[in-house]
Subunit: 146 residues, 2 copies
DNA sequence: TTTAATTATATCGTGTGCGATATAAAAATA
DNA sequence: TATTTTTATATCGCACACGATATAATTAAA
């Protein structure tokens, strides 16, 4: 006999985990055209909003450890998307800023959010539901980060 | 100027991705005591419910590819948690079933869900909210898997 | 009944994600 | 000022995830 609380269908953790991977899969065809991965896309979103940021600030915004972000940024530098240079005011910090190629990519990415939204051909889930879901997840993240 | 739809805070994708990793982090101290990882825990949940399953059925239940599940199961076999044997009726299939050690672990895992639930010391999020969130995520998963 | 197509699993390569640890620079303290 | 502590980034090792591909067994079709 399986304890009720140990059934897969009764876990809150699994739907979050599965939904995360499924959403990333939805993004892939669009990101493939830009030649970047999903975490790289998140870094681009941050850098399109901020002219210049140290590694740690990017990691905090994405709730990632720096030992994940450092190699991620290095791969993006290899792709020619961004530059890394020491902060002259604090030599510990490495400042990240987009290259021209990185800035130009924003134009190509502008249509992605709408494309993703349109790709949900699901009568039982509309944009309002998505917004409410987003709000609830942000609550959960607040609980889990403090 | 950043297009509104490209701001990190306006993405539905990011909260799901971040919440998934944060939840997994919450599980880690408990799973560490059992000597398993989070994806391995999910496999255990499936096998505590099903005496015997082919690799593909486990992959489908967890919405994972078999090229993720095969090495995962091999590591779990090395840990002595499960056995792998060919299906005599269909030699393509590999049937997975728990060892005694794997079955015994269920007892130790029984308290985990309650511990996780208790660990949310967040006044703005109760169990009812979590249940509603789970239902909405399951809707999203339905949309994204069909 | 050969041959072709499908199915189930496995292998390989690349990119995360993170715990543990290292290193250098800055800040705090004795 | 010398020493200790903290902060910012990087390195290493391991376990996922998954696209692409390979292989063997089964099924479908010619």
């Amino acid at each position: 006999m399986v304890a009720e609380q140990l059934k897969l269908e009764n876990q809150i953790c699994f739907p979050v985990y599965a939904a995360s991977r499924l959403i990333i899969r939805k993004y892939q065809p669009y990101l493939e055209k830009l030649g970047i991965t999903y975490p790289q896309y998140l870094v681009m979103l941050v850098l399109w909003e901020h002219e210049q940021l140290p590694v740690n600030d990017i990691a905090q915004k994405l709730i990632l450890n720096t030992n994940t972000v450092t190699p991620l940024l290095k791969r993006m530098q290899t792709l020619g998307l961004l530059k890394r240079e020491k902060d002259s005011l604090d030599e510990r910090k490495v400042l990240i800023r987009l290259t021209e190629k990185g800035k130009i990519m924003q134009k190509e990415a502008e249509s992605i959010p709408q494309n993703i939204a349109d790709s949900i051909h699901c009568t039982s889930m509309n944009l309002e539901d998505l917004f409410s879901l987003k709000k609830q997840l942000e609550q959960l993240i607040l609980c889990y980060t403090k």
